[in-house]
């Protein structure tokens, strides 16, 4: 009796749905905070103050312009 280790290399291009979901969530969240946020995210904890501070808008401001998002 002898045992043989056989390594099988399979190719598959199917991406699990959960992976697609995670990546799409990262896409939308990242695009939103860099390109769109006008205080919405921080307003969840800060309330109205976030809409006056516009922290994300101000901090990501230069790239928002440079990457072609509407700003100002």
């Amino acid at each position: 009796m002898s045992s043989v280790n056989a390594q099988i290399v399979k190719e598959s291009s199917g991406l699990p749905k959960i992976a697609v979901g995670i990546l799409l969530a990262i896409l939308l969240f990242g695009m939103f905070i860099v390109g769109y946020d006008q205080g919405q995210l921080f307003s969840l904890v800060e309330g109205q103050k976030a809409f006056d501070d516009l922290w994300m808008h101000e901090f990501y401001h230069d790239l928002r312009h440079a990457a072609g998002f509407p700003c100002h």
Partner: protein, 245 residues
């Protein structure tokens, strides 16, 4: 499919490419943003308000740091989309290795996601936009972005389905369908409502360097993901079987 390895190399490629974008912008784009902000400051002073120069300098440094952080975040988020599209299109892309395939797909996605929306709604430096219209402009820009993205997805599916019957003519049909959709969107969507009150020189230079650095970003993203792909080979699944004879 090595899913975790795939997600890791995708996001790391994007984070690196995006950070480089933020750094390159410091050299190429910032001179124009600084010029535009100087115009804004002049306008503020002319209207009778005072401007604290020291404070402004500190604030601008903070914003330039933010630009690099924003590059990392935007790069990571764009790479998430790039990775998904790459998996589903890798077999159809021309190119003898993943680096070339990655670069070709990056070129296509730069065109679809950045260049086409930018031709309808070009990037503007500070001193141009009216804060009152920001939501309207965001909705216009997003509509153009989404139309271009879904039109590209649609014609990619069309390209694949024409593979059996119209192997040659699909190379003409598919770009034509995309071009017609984009032309319609350009005609139907309203123009950017804001009045341009800065020199057209500054405006054009800003738009050109913006497109150049975004092009560099996409190129780096494609090459990086392709290179990592050739090393990690996330599409292969290794199963070790123990057979007893």
């Amino acid at each position: 499919m090595k899913t975790v390895a795939f997600i890791l190399i995708t996001l790391v490629s994007g984070a690196i490419a995006g950070t480089i974008l933020g750094l390159i912008n410091q050299i190429l784009v910032e001179p124009y943003i600084d010029q535009a902000i100087a115009i804004e400051v002049q306008n503020t002073v002319a209207s009778g308000e005072s401007v604290d120069v020291d404070e402004l300098v500190q604030y601008r440094l903070w914003q330039k740091g933010g630009e690099i952080v924003a590059g990392t975040i935007l790069g990571t988020s764009i790479s998430a989309l790039f990775g998904i599209v790459y998996i589903y299109s890798r077999d159809s892309l021309p190119g003898s290795n993943n680096k070339k395939k990655g670069l070709i797909l990056a070129g296509i996605m730069f065109f679809v996601i950045f260049l086409i929306p930018a031709l309808k709604y070009p990037a503007n430096p500070p001193a141009v936009g009216d804060p009152e219209t920001i939501e309207y402009r965001e909705s216009l820009y997003t509509t153009m972005l989404v139309i271009s993205g879904f039109a590209a997805l649609g014609v990619a599916i069309l390209y694949r389905s024409l593979g059996q019957t119209r192997r040659e003519s699909r190379k003409i049909i598919v770009p034509t369908v995309y071009a017609v959709i984009i032309a319609l969107a350009f005609v139907v969507l309203p123009a950017n409502p804001d009045e341009i009150i800065i020199s057209s020189n500054l405006l054009m230079n800003f738009r050109i360097v913006s497109a150049i650095t975004m092009g560099i970003f996409w190129g780096i993203l494609g090459i990086l993901l392709g290179s990592f792909w050739d090393i990690v080979k996330p599409h292969e699944t290794r199963a070790t079987k123990l057979r007893t004879i």
